[in-house]
Amino acid sequence: MHAVDLTTLTVEAVKEFGLTRKDASRAKNMFALGLLSWMYGRPTEPTTEFLTTRFGAKPTLRDANVTAFRTGWNFGETTEAFAVTYEIKPAAMPSGRYRNVTGNAALAFGLIAAGQQSGLPVFLGSYPITPASDILHELSKHKRFGVTTFQAEDEIAGVGAALGAAFGGALGVTTTSGPGVCLKSETLGLAVMLELPLLVCDIQRGGPSTGLPTKTEQSDLLQAMFGRNGEAPLPIVAPRSPADCFDATLEAVRIAVTYRTPVMLLSDGSLANGSEPWLLPDVADLAPIDPDFATAPNARADDGGGSFLPYLRDEDTLARPWAVPGTPGLMNRVGGLEKADRTGDISYDPDNHDLMVRTRQAKVDVIARSLPPTEVDDPGAELARGARMLVVGWGSTYGAIGAAVRRVRRDRRQVAQVHLRHLNPLPPDLGEILARYDRVVVPEMNLGQLALLLRGRYLVDALSHTQVSGMPFKAAPLADVLRGHLRQLDGQPAVQHSERHPAAGVPA
């Protein structure tokens, strides 16, 4: 342990620039970064280049920060207080070109890419809310991609305008957090009824109510799943890392456009503001998204001419035609009242309502057919020495769960991991996968919402491990929880007193 008086050293180092003591002490983070750069043998040029660019308009601040950074490096080099330096070998990463990206930036880029891949103008209707606002900020900078950002008067208007734009043939998007989803619920029900593509990005935060706006949580899953009146199913997609927000957004748009449905993208505060190296995709490899607008009549009228049935469905996807205003001959009226099958006319017929409720559910269910096989990380499985225990997660817990699983494996214990991207519908092979394991553990930053869904859907004895502190999971305590579960599988008590982290949450 070394005590370094960062403030005094920094203020002394930048004295020549004539800053106030308060302003001078603000550069102490650069002093610390300089010292760490020395200690870990990191190159200094990228930092000085960054500072030069960042403070280009303010030469005094630029010079003070660069000086503080260099002084910190020199402090490490010349002070004999530090006996060791560290060399960190490069992480084993796939080859290619990388950049750093935050989840919110990746999500915004995903929306722009989705606009390009579909040929649809992107329309974002949004009301500022933490931690989603950065998506609005990012998108508003990229109008040249045909992106329109509309800062609405409230959350309801944000989603309403997005739905109106979708009705007109745009890629309608709204971005928000949990409290905003509450306000948008009625419009989401309308979107379910209208069967129009719409993307709702919920950047989850601590709840309920205003809750913990700057902290992270996964507690909107059931709201996304069920938070509307009536039977109003909609697909749910969750990114698992900051960079994955790009791919997950494209996937959510694919579903929305293909199946004519609102889709909920469940990110969260830790993904939104967290960043990670992103292996840049080749734009040429991105899949196209076909809006497949209706352009011609799809039925025959009594007089033998063409007619248009706005709720006649595609046999495979059960999607209805997307006939946008301006298309001759396809004029039709949609609305929130129950629709008659095929014609879309208002209908109070009992059998029709039953049919339509089931059809809207079936439309979401058939999306499962388009999902890839679930990746099961169970290294021994191919040699028929698979794990007895499976850890199932979703969303931003991917990194922590993966790290905890690797720690357990270092004890030469077997544990398998599945991380879900699609929460609704769930992957078609998931039930069979869950059934293969003697124990299924579901860590979540809520009170067990996915576990509830898995139990209800598969009658599997999924065991929850929950943490609702507003903070992400940490690998070490989570690994101890998993070890406790493994001991129970062996017929031993879950808690071992030698462990640093008691295995909270494991039934004794």
Partner: protein, 362 residues
Amino acid sequence: MTAVDLPGPVLARDGLADVPTSDDTQTRKDYASDQEVRWCPGCGDYIVLNAVQGFLPDLGLRRENIVFVSGIGCSSRFPYYLDTYGMHSIHGRAPAIATGLAITRPDLSVWVVTGDGDALSIGGNHLIHALRRNVNLTILLFNNRIYGLTKGQYSPTSETGKVTKSTPLGSVDRPFNPVSLALGAEGTFVARTIDSDRAHLTEVLRAAASHRGTSIVEIYQNCPIFNDGAFDAFKDKNSREATVISLRHGEPVRFGPDGALGVTRDSVTGSMRVVEVADVGESALVVHDAAADDPSSAFALSRLTDAGALQQSPIGIFRQVEQPTYDDLARQQVATAQGTEGAGDSAGLAALLTGTDTWTVA
């Protein structure tokens, strides 16, 4: 924070300038859908529907480029009966939905059909913000001063003391004056008309449709079931000369039998009042200027409407001014970005994703 001068000005253009026109001769029948009209017998909504179906052919637009968006309430069934594109949305939200549509589709004539409860109660926020932004929409506000669809509760335009199912001892809140509210939000086209005056209704709707920006037309509409006779003062042949304060741009505000009544402005307070022309002389009357940039005079005129049972009210176009519209400016920003930076393509997307700080892993 800084503010910039927006590029422009966007030239004043007709509200329908970007909407494609039709070469076909259209008739009222072209605008009637195959749905059975289901309002109560005698409802004022029939008259408005007939007027709209009758005047839309005169606009000469392609039918497929007209969209009616409504909220919830009796009048919000309107879109089902017009053979155009339409959306019967949810309570109060039609202006928000129409805003997204109008911003992204300048080639559409976008109409909002709403009522006093829909627009002024549950949807009040969206209404004032649509007016503030001046999105290119035409809003028809059917005001019957009652909740009809839910069978007879008082509405935000009902007179104080209204005895209804929900207020058996009389309502205690004061009503909105929709025109005053719209002018307070600095609406650029604000008008009032009456369901029973077909000619006036049609004239005002035509002006509203061709206004670029948000037009709002309050239509006094009788509900024969739950609030019958609310507007009788303006319908009775014998009384209406003295109750309808007819507004004509550029003309003195004068009404009553033989034009005996007029409106003057108090030079101290700026408020308006009704006087006998014989007492003050015609030169003292207010000359209506709907094109005045300052909405104060129009607002003062709007205060001549009774807050209680209606005995007198100005009818006509209160305000009609040209101002840049939100949707024109928003589209202009996109176009300008595409003009100066180049329209985004796959190379541009690749450059965006790559950013300025990358490294390569071998």
